[in-house]
């Protein structure tokens, strides 16, 4: 097998606990986003556009739906003869197997996979974020600076900074200090969890980290700080475009709403940077004679006879006459009955909202979540619908 300059390892085992019922049977990277995508489509499309043809996808939590979705990687051009997409679940070894204990340990357990390709660089990414990024430019940056590891960094709101690993950098983008989720952050440059390692260095530190008893085997908590302590060259790659961690109901809802702006911060319709996804094979959407649609994203296979305002609709949604969907995200194949009104909600795939049901309220800022395949009637509203 030929040598690869860089391969990607995509961490897709995230449970997405804070997404509640949306991730009950689904890994976070498989959660729907943006009218026809799943979160992981963004990172995989980034790989496709960055010329990366070898991607190991590390799965762990609820992988069934995710595995089925990824298949052999064809939608992202990753069904390749040499390389392509390989799904890497935890496995049993001669001395017994263990779950992935942390992000670094997940890569450690798959060192043999990386060694097969003998790459110079390894890109570590996760399937949890919405952004468009050319990893090739980041690799150029990494090569130019001669760093051992390059960490993509983005400026975040100061009040958000404590949720992330934050970096102090000097004039040449060299990282002078790194703190994982500090209580009182002294910098607002957050690590995006996107790393390019020179493979020989990563290899060394993975082995070293695995041997450490006190380590929690996490890149941000353990491996990066230990490289920092050893005086390795850590550089930051400044990223200035849209990047969103959709880890909570609020942020998932917000990120969907971001797409509806007149000039959206994340443009899905850029022909030079298509977001690839599995195609649902549905006919063009039918906007009925009694429909009213404004400021919304609607996908193939929808049959709309009611009103849709500032909402994102996935494929196969049927909205009956006199229904209203406002400021909501409606996932695939949801049925909305006559006269039903939905305000500020996320409706899970396949849910049925009976005629006349009212979800949320125009005066309430809270976001209501309806679980996958829920049948919502007026009587069962409180019991069936989970309020966030």
């Amino acid at each position: 097998m030929g040598r690869k300059e860089m391969i990607a390892m995509l961490l897709a085992g995230g449970e997405g606990k804070r997404l509640g019922v949306l991730t009950k049977d689904l890994a976070k990277p498989a959660v729907y986003f943006g009218g026809k995508y799943r979160i992981i489509d963004f990172t995989l499309s980034n790989c496709a556009h960055s010329g990366i043809d070898t991607v190991g996808v590390l799965t762990q939590y609820q992988p069934l739906e995710l595995n089925r979705y990824l298949g052999i990687g064809s939608p992202w051009g990753l069904d390749r003869r040499d390389g392509g997409m390989t799904i890497l679940p935890p496995y049993v070894k001669q001395k017994g197997g263990v779950w992935y204990k942390g992000t670094a340990n997940a890569i450690y357990q798959n060192m043999a996979f990386i060694e097969r390709y003998d790459p110079e660089y390894v890109l570590i990414i996760s399937g949890d974020h919405i952004y468009k990024m050319d990893y090739e430019l980041m690799l150029d940056h990494h090569k130019r600076s001669g760093a051992d590891v390059t960490i993509a960094g983005i400026e975040v709101d100061w009040k958000e900074a404590s949720r992330f690993g934050v970096m102090h950098i000097d004039d040449e983008d060299r990282v002078t200090a790194f703190e994982e989720k500090p209580k009182n952050p002294t910098s607002n440059i957050a690590s995006m969890g996107v790393y390019i390692f020179t493979w020989t260095e990563l290899q060394k530190y993975l082995i070293y980290d695995e041997a450490s008893r006190s380590s929690s085997h996490d890149f941000g908590k353990d491996l990066i700080p230990s490289m920092m302590r050893d005086g390795k060259r850590l550089h930051s790659y400044p990223f200035k475009s849209y990047w969103k961690d959709v880890g909570t109901i609020e942020s998932l809802w917000e990120a969907n709403m971001d797409l509806l702006a007149d000039e959206p911060p994340l443009e899905l319709a850029d022909p030079s940077w298509r977001i690839y996804s599995v195609n649902p094979n549905q006919p063009a959407q039918h906007i009925g004679a009694s429909a009213e649609v404004s400021a919304s994203l609607i996908t193939e296979g929808c049959l709309i006879e009611g009103e849709v305002d500032r909402s994102v609709l996935f494929y196969g949604v049927r909205a009956a006459k006199n229904s209203l969907i406002a400021e909501s995200v409606v996932m695939p194949n949801v049925r909305i009955g006559e006269g039903a009104r939905i305000y500020r909600a996320i409706i899970g795939e396949g849910a049925v909202i009976q005629a006349g049901v009212i979800i949320g309220s125009p005066d309430d800022n809270a976001i209501t979540v309806v679980a996958v395949d829920q049948y919502v009637t007026n009587d069962h509203l409180l019991r069936e619908v989970e309020h966030s």
Partner: protein, 369 residues
């Protein structure tokens, strides 16, 4: 499929009165229904019926056909042993290309002879329908027919089709071309089921007798010698081979019951995947009674219209009773009514384009208005 059946989509000398729409493409690849090409309907029907070996007899202007079908993987026809075969004319003499389809079937006889499949379903590309061929084969076997012709009873036809009359048993007694004098409300859907051996025999004997056309000569002339039965198709049918029928049948898709049936029952219709984002409706946009594909951007008003992938209707523009194909653009405050705009047509700002319901205005590919 229980039975061993292969499909042939025969594009040789297909009736085509679509004017500019087929100037640079064959009838089979005329865009239809906001995101499909005509051939998708019969091809998807074959796939959904369990036919996994399909030959497309390309004839002329087949660049767009090759581009659209590719390896066949979007129709799940990329298999190790069977799958999709696009077969352009196999002849070393350019004169021979214009010969009838019997000659071309003969040239492609290896395709049939090499196959281990017993039955052949031969169709055209311009019948917009969603049909289960398994049922047709079943009927063919029950009747012990030599040939089964798929027919449709329909009062008014927008397109041109052969007329069929049959007896109480369903045996076909007469077939005439669309201009024939016979009065019958039964049309042929130009779909023929027969045993492969019979097809090969018909091709060889008819050619030897100096005949040219499979249906008109080889089949019409044998109504008394062969048991030829009609299978009545009950689903939605649109015959698209004239510009009027193209427009009428497109507009029919705006009826929700047609949309629900044609695109879903008995199986989905597949097409080449384009990875367009969801359609985007901006504040103050208006859309009613329309079919809109992904990748569209609607800032103006769209009424009773069909918009293909990537169409942009700018602010203040009004599109009504029109069909706008892929990547079309209607500029600010323009008015487009009763029009068919082929791919990549740009209507600049403040234009007023009106056709008539009975005779829509047609703009060719890449035209700037």
């Amino acid at each position: 499929m229980k039975h061993k059946v292969m499909g042939v989509i025969n594009l040789i000398h297909e009736t085509d009165e679509l004017e500019q729409l087929t100037q640079g493409r064959c009838l089979a690849t005329v865009p239809f229904g906001a995101r499909y090409r005509l051939i998708d309907f019969v091809l998807s029907s074959m796939v959904n019926s369990g036919i996994s070996k399909v030959a497309v007899f390309a004839h002329t202007k087949y660049r767009s056909l090759m581009d659209h079908l590719g390896s066949g993987k979007h129709w799940d026809l990329q298999h190790r042993q069977s799958g999709l075969f696009v077969l352009p004319p196999a002849t070393d003499d350019i004169q021979e290309i214009s010969r009838g389809d019997l000659y071309h079937f003969y040239q492609q006889r290896d395709f049939f002879n090499r196959s281990t499949l017993d039955y052949v379903v031969i169709t055209r590309s311009h019948m917009v329908c969603n049909i289960d061929f398994e049922k047709v084969i079943q009927y063919h076997l029950e009747r012990e027919a030599d040939i089964t012709v798929v027919c449709k009873q329909q009062d008014s036809l927008a397109g041109k089709a052969r007329k069929v009359s049959m007896d109480d048993e369903g045996r076909i007694t007469a077939i005439q071309d669309h201009y024939g004098r016979m009065t019958s409300d039964i049309s042929s859907m130009e779909m023929y089921v027969m045993h492969k051996d019979l097809l090969m025999e018909l091709v060889e004997t008819s050619l030897a007798q100096g005949q040219d056309h499979l249906v008109r000569h080889a089949i019409f002339s044998r109504l008394d010698k062969l048991k030829i039965y009609g299978y009545m198709y009950e689903g939605y049918l649109g015959i698209v081979n004239t510009l009027t029928s193209y427009y009428r049948n497109s507009m029919n898709l705006l009826r929700p019951e047609v949309w629900k049936e044609l695109f879903y029952q008995p199986g989905p219709i597949y097409t080449k995947v384009k990875d367009e984002p969801p359609a985007r409706y901006l504040e103050n946009s208006k859309a009613t009674n329309s079919l809109i594909a992904n990748g569209c951007r609607i800032e103006g008003t769209v009424v009773n219209s069909i918009l293909f992938r990537g169409v942009h209707v700018q602010k203040g523009a009004i599109v009504s009773n029109s069909i706008i194909m892929q990547n079309g653009m209607v500029g600010e405050n323009s008015f487009v009514q009763h029009s068919i705009l082929d791919k990549d047509v740009r209507v600049e700002a403040y234009r007023d384009i009106r056709g008539a319901d009975s005779s829509p205005f047609l703009a060719g590919k890449r035209k700037i208005i």
